[in-house]
Symmetry: C2
Subunit: 384 residues, 2 copies
DNA sequence: ATGAAAGCGCTAACAT
DNA sequence: ATGTTAGCGCTTTCAT
């Protein structure tokens, strides 16, 4: 009397016991067991989203069989598997990753904390992270600390609560207390420190080559036959100031020239600060014939100031920067700059993290340095 | 004999039954019941992360009591609550949001799909989204479709699997089939279409004011007394080409001037295409005295080309764009441009989404237009 | 005021 | 090859 749900035939279908109070049937011809779903046949129950229970009911089989079919286990009848897969499509089933996570103990989510998503540098870093993640089963929760320590702390809490499988963090400028990182480490949640790093924890770090890159810029200026090369740095407390100044000094040392302290000025990354710094340098008894700005915007502004004073670039003054930007290629003259590689930084960081998640061990080198590229443009003489 | 776990006193502590095979005690002086945790007192079991079970064991009380305390329920002894909270701090407990989500049926996660995170426009949009989200209990999973239809489809699948509470999507250029959106709608998952919209679904949309903004630019050019205003648009199939051209035409209509088709050229947003378009315009018997580029980069390049031909800007040629960028303020002359407000676009979109999640109903207006601002700079004459 | 137990959706060990 | 059941961590209903 009962038509088979699968092959549609009527003969060959026999009763085969009672399941959860319902009559179970077995079709001899197509080797398939099922029960009849009496009420609300196809409508998913809960809040609309199909579950494996819905599929199981729909086909009159058990949830574990559905699970097995969906997960390509070996001990499953190929026919059943086909049916389940078809039902999954029909009911537009999407596996509930929340439930899977709870069961498996990992979420397949990676947390990323950045201080400024709007900044092209970090935007590119994120793009790099996505490049890698897009080829995996992972997703990423992006947190924007907006340079606020409080937000950074809160975000770490949240990520731990979401039981993320790993964390990538670039610190806010305003963070000086790093207990939150220690807590992550204590919980053995893999964490990688990128770009804005701090050295007090034994965790992998991925950074720009500020020192070598800066050295390269200054070496280029030397190669262009500039003699009095100045540096406009940032606040002395910042690590980028220290590193990029280090590169400047290294270039001098290799060249065997003694750096002059009056050619080294410290600004604060504001326009006002730059104007001050520029004027200071130009008022020197012997002003510089080249300026290396550790902040690209300072270099752009320096070019503008030099033009106002009718100083010819690159003949009378060479200008170069650490840090590239679309603007650099569009000013007049175009700006020579060291172009770091934030995309690669993101890619490498997340690769290291994924590796750490899988292998539970740190990379051989705790510190990875990402190379950039010197973009030689018109703001520096080409006497090469 | 037994010291109270809470107040430390010994007298006043009596046995009060057996719980799960363990002796239970009650301290009369501080009104607190507990059992002794015989094995591994404080060490969390699972994969290192503390759970409420750990807290319960630690204090010798039941999980439901811990849950009540942690969730500020009314039917809980204030003393117990204090103890639980202290234990939570001591054990560095973080609530497992995965488990909470599974139980509650919502994840407190919002999915965002963007075609290009690296682009400053979308980076700003994301910043806007974060601005709002940072003040809520929500987190966001960011998906980068990288202008790929396949990735966009996959991301939607993933987001549905994560049971996100809502989705913000800006479509990839390469998507022409929108079944994935229909599926989201069918599942009653709130979704908002932002910036790159498509009109075939009844879902809220948030967009730039391409039409009005473009009209404003052209009106400004008229006000500057330019007579022959050209437009360099993009591929005709794109909605931004259509809308911004519409604004251009609207300005002409209001002015009561007939637009000339030879002043309307269509490019493809490449440098080569722009050079072509620019040359075409300038080779006209009567070349334009102003150009409105619907793509900012085309305007930057137009300025460069004009300078090469020794055409004086803004005297002989006015140049203006739809879309602003840091470059615009740094070229010579600086570029007049309509600056849309992607930050606000992000903020408004996510606000509408949060509202839809809470109230389960659409906003009054299905379409929201975000105003930008005309940035008048040196590339247009100021005869105002 | 507190404990026991069910259930969210899924997987896996165990049973048949 | 398939069904039953326990359990992931949490909240909540129902007892007590």
């Amino acid at each position: 009397m009962q038509k088979c749900l699968k092959c549609g035939k009527v003969d060959g279908v026999i009763r085969s016991g009672i399941v959860r109070g319902k009559q179970r049937y077995y079709c001899k011809s197509c080797d398939f067991s099922f029960v009849l779903d009496q009420n609300n046949p196809d409508l998913p129950k809960n809040k609309g989203l199909t579950t494996i229970v819905d599929i199981a009911r729909h086909l009159g089989i058990s949830v574990s069989t559905v699970s097995r079919a969906l997960n390509d286990k070996f001990d499953i009848n190929p026919n059943t598997k086909k049916l389940v897969n078809q039902a999954a499509i029909d009911l537009d089933y999407k596996p509930n990753l929340i439930a899977q996570s709870l069961h498996k103990g990992y979420s397949h989510i990676i947390g990323v904390v950045v201080p400024d998503i709007e900044h092209p540098y970090f935007a590119k870093m994120l793009a790099g992270i996505h490049n890698i993640i897009n080829h995996t089963a992972y997703s990423i929760i992006v947190c924007h600390s907006n340079e606020s320590a409080e937000l950074e702390y809160l975000h770490i809490e949240k990520l731990l609560s979401y039981r993320v499988d790993g964390i990538l963090i670039s610190h806010s400028k305003t963070v000086f207390d790093f207990d939150h990182i220690q807590k992550v480490i204590n919980k053995k949640v893999p964490i990688i420190n990128i770009d804005r790093i701090v050295n007090q924890h034994e965790i992998p770090k991925v950074v720009n080559n500020d020192i070598e890159g800066s050295k390269e810029v200054v070496q280029h200026l030397f190669a262009c036959k500039y003699k009095r090369i100045a540096i406009i740095a940032g606040p002395k407390s910042l690590s980028i100031t220290q590193k990029r100044t280090q590169g400047y000094l290294d270039a001098f040392q290799e060249k065997g020239i003694e750096p002059q302290t009056d050619l080294m000025v410290y600004s604060d990354f504001t326009s006002a600060g730059l104007i001050n710094a520029f004027n200071t340098l130009m008022s020197l008894p012997e002003p510089p014939d080249a300026i290396f700005c550790i902040f690209f915007k300072d270099a752009i502004d320096s070019i503008k100031l030099a033009k106002k004073r009718n100083i010819k670039i690159p003949e009378e003054l060479g200008v170069a920067a650490f840090g590239d930007d679309a603007i650099s290629g569009n000013v007049e003259p175009t700006l020579t700059a060291y172009n770091p590689n934030p995309v690669k930084l993101g890619e490498v960081s997340v690769s290291i993290l994924l590796d750490k998640i899988k292998n539970k061990e740190n990379p051989k080198e705790m510190s990875t340095i990402i190379e950039g590229e010197l973009m030689i443009r018109d703001s520096t003489r080409k006497f090469l």
